[in-house]
């Protein structure tokens, strides 16, 4: 949506006032969106198919699905840009994305109206390049899985009636939420989770373009905290660099910065907590050696009151409970010496706690509950 509106607003406002929408204010996610489909990272299969269709200038209806932040929207935007060029882009592409304006009425009015128009081509483009500019328009429905069933049903006929002059591209996370008749009208493309290497190259490209120094551990932290979502990784990188740039004297981005922005509970706190509830963790030396204090952890499980005191402390620090559970989960499941029985018991507790937190339960009570029950499970297994 941004892409769609941005050129207009900036152009008009630039005439009146210079300092509106400076390039710095633009999110990097938008700034570094791939311009061509070749630039899209690690989706070889999809890109190969689309390249073919670019050559023959014909396109089926398409359905892109896959986890967030691996380039679905970027691909279709880049593709339509390559098909139509900057001049025709605005008249030929309609992008609709959030959940609030796609009720059935919008499908009936806005989409239908747009689908109905016969495209007019401007053959000569302003930047001198020639674009294929095939005789159809593209309607991109981003986050299509949040469309209501009714709205999707209303689309069915529209897709067929105007197939001659309009192509639809549905983008979604969960393909199962798209009703069957719609899915069968589209050719499906699955977007694989991003490989860490390609995410890494992309991040370092951006870092070089923005001329910010970026160390290897920071890149790794960015990727691990964002869990394969490149958009999140880039947003974190931007926020972190913002902080690093404005700090006096200028500092480089540290692992701690990234973790703080992502809301991750620091390892030291986690290890402490795990120690109190009886999950021994071997201490790794922190990346910059600062976070980890040298005291050896008291491996022996302590009593209820210690756990409660620790939980109080964590809650006072303001860490989010769901994040804490997530990290605790990783710690327990990947733990080298715990018995499987203890691990499964812990998993049960964590699942219950997650459900409770989703229902809006009190965080302190549930962290305590998880702590005590994990502690019991672990000490029973010894």
């Amino acid at each position: 949506m941004d892409k769609f509106f941005q050129p207009q607003t900036t152009r008009t406002s630039q005439k009146q006032q210079k300092h509106v929408a400076t390039p710095e204010a633009q999110p990097w996610v938008e700034k570094y969106r791939p311009k061509t489909i070749e630039e899209v990272a690690s989706q070889e299969h999809t890109v190969a198919v689309l390249r073919k269709s670019l050559m023959s200038s014909n396109l089926p209806h398409m359905l892109f699905y896959g986890p967030p932040g691996n380039g679905k929207t970027s691909t279709i935007l880049a593709l339509s840009r390559q098909l139509f060029g900057p001049d025709n882009f605005r008249t030929r592409v309609l992008e609709l994305n959030a959940s609030d304006e796609r009720g059935i009425s919008i499908v009936r009015e806005k989409i239908k109206d747009f689908a109905r128009q016969t495209p007019r081509a401007i053959t000569t483009s302003s930047d001198g390049k020639t674009y294929p500019c095939p005789p159809f328009k593209i309607i991109i429905l981003d986050e299509a899985d949040s469309m209501t069933q009714d709205a999707q049903a209303a689309l069915r006929r529209i897709m067929e009636t105007y197939a001659r002059i309009t192509r639809f591209c549905l983008v979604c996370n969960y393909v199962t939420r798209i009703i069957e008749p719609l899915a069968s009208r589209c050719s499906k493309f699955r977007f694989l989770p991003l490989a860490p290497q390609s995410a890494e190259t992309r991040l370092s490209q951006i870092a070089t373009a923005e001329s910010i120094p970026l160390s290897q551990p920071v890149v790794r932290t960015l990727i691990s905290t964002s869990q394969g979502d490149l958009r999140r990784a880039i947003t974190y990188l931007q926020s972190a660099s913002r902080l690093a740039l404005v700090s006096q004297p200028r500092e480089d981005i540290t692992v701690r910065d990234v973790q703080e922005i992502a809301g991750v509970v620091p390892d030291a706190v986690m290890v402490d907590f795990a120690g109190v509830i009886g999950v021994e963790v071997e201490r790794e030396v922190g990346e910059d050696g600062m976070e980890v204090d040298e005291k050896p952890v008291q491996g022996k499980a302590k009593g209820f009151d210690d756990i409660r005191a620790k939980v109080r402390e964590i809650v006072r620090e303001g860490y989010s409970a769901s994040q804490l559970l997530l990290q605790l989960h990783d710690m327990i499941i990947l733990h080298p010496t715990l018995t499987s029985r203890a691990k499964s018991k812990c998993a049960l507790v964590l699942a219950e706690a997650d459900k409770a937190l989703c229902d809006g339960a009190d965080e302190e009570l549930w962290i305590l509950e998880v702590g005590v029950r994990v502690w019991k499970a672990v000490s029973d297994s010894r």
Binding site: F5, S13, A98, S247, G318, D359, E369, V372
Partner: protein
């Protein structure tokens, strides 16, 4: 005369007493050309609001302190009228969307769009954008958050949003990834002491060590509570010497009484008595979660080690049920009975395994 909490609330980022690292960051962010959307989170009384106020002041100068309060009326699609208090200055607007409960989406859409679509008219303003502060962001409904998401991207040139929440658990990921997360931890013992001493110095009297200790112990990291208690104590005895008794709030002593009642006797008659007391508490608008937590806290202080974990376990379980359910009192009572039976069985040493899961 205003309360000390307000009187000595820091006005600028330089005046803040603790979290210096955070303050310098906020200051440089306010000076830099791109100010992001922000999300402040942390326990209550840690100073989130104060920091937001200081940041606004750093962004726009003194103008933000000229506040006016409006009552706005909104119309839902189903033609229901909603009233909402809006605090605003020329540069920012502050709303608490949870005031209107389920209809917060309407408010978010209307207010934000209205503000976002107009540009800053004051040509002397330091920034070209306006700021909207949303309090209590963690009680925003899903719909409202989804609506926010779109607005945050689209109107980035005209508007910045500052969210203020207790925890980030209840915010959807897209919102979190669009904001700069700022964690405001509760102040430590030493930090609170500095603040108290600062206030004492401004009020021109000496603060004895023992007094500040007991105030801080009592406040449990809540700066606002500490200052209020401090002022109350000062009213009681002017020199703050001798043994101080920090008056507990009524409901807290009442909760303690209930806890003691549960432990003294476990009979159906006692359940009825407790029930009456619980009703009393609820009818005075004490949130049921707070009641449950306070009683549970008190009980685990006075029981055997083996029982503590179980009592907290059931407290956690019944708390969730209470949230999902409709009648709070049912679940409170159920928990009380559960605790009583646990306690009694523990003493008579009856095997409980058959009754464990209900």
């Amino acid at each position: 005369m205003s309360l000390w909490v307000d009187k000595y609330r820091p006005k600028t980022l330089d005046d803040l007493h603790y979290h210096e690292g955070l303050s310098t960051r906020l200051k440089s962010l306010a000076d830099s050309p791109d100010f992001p959307h922000m999300l402040f989170y942390g326990p209550s009384g840690a100073g989130k609001k104060t920091r937001i106020g200081c940041t606004l002041r750093a962004l726009f100068g003194q103008g933000v302190e000229k506040l006016k309060i409006d009552q706005r009326v909104f119309l839902t699609p189903s033609k229901r009228k909603l009233d909402l208090n809006v605090v605003s200055s020329n540069y920012h607007t502050e709303i608490t969307p949870s005031e209107v409960g389920n209809y917060d989406r309407v408010v978010i859409q209307e207010i934000l769009k209205e503000i976002a679509q107009t540009q800053q008219v004051d040509m002397n303003a330091k920034q070209r954008f306006k700021v909207v502060v949303l309090n209590d962001a963690d009680s925003l409904s899903r719909d409202a958050q989804a609506a926010l998401r779109r607005t945050m991207e689209k109107y980035m040139t005209n508007i910045r949003i500052i969210l203020c929440a207790n925890s980030t658990s209840k915010l959807i990921a897209p919102i979190k990834s669009r904001c700069l997360l700022v964690r405001v931890a509760a102040p430590t013992f030493q930090e609170m002491k500095t603040v108290l001493e600062h206030v004492a110095k401004k009020e021109k009297f000496d603060l004895p060590e023992t007094a500040s200790h007991s105030i801080i112990e009592d406040s449990n990291g809540n700066m606002r509570k500490a200052l209020l208690v401090f002022e109350a104590l000062k009213m009681q005895s002017t020199d703050l010497s001798g043994p101080l008794t920090i008056a507990k709030p009524d409901w807290e002593t009442y909760c303690y009484k209930v806890a003691d009642m549960i432990l003294q006797e476990q009979t159906p008659q006692r359940v009825m008595d407790v029930r009456a007391k619980l009703y009393e508490l609820l009818s005075h608008c004490i949130p049921p979660t707070v009641v449950l937590k306070t009683i549970a806290d008190r009980i685990v202080q006075n029981v055997d080690e083996a029982l503590k974990a179980d009592i907290m376990h059931w407290a956690a379980i019944y708390e969730v049920r209470m949230r999902n359910g409709n009648k709070k009192i049912f679940h409170l009572e159920a928990w009380v009975v559960k605790v009583m039976s646990l306690y009694k069985h523990f003493f008579y040493d009856i095997d409980m395994t058959g009754f464990d899961d209900c």
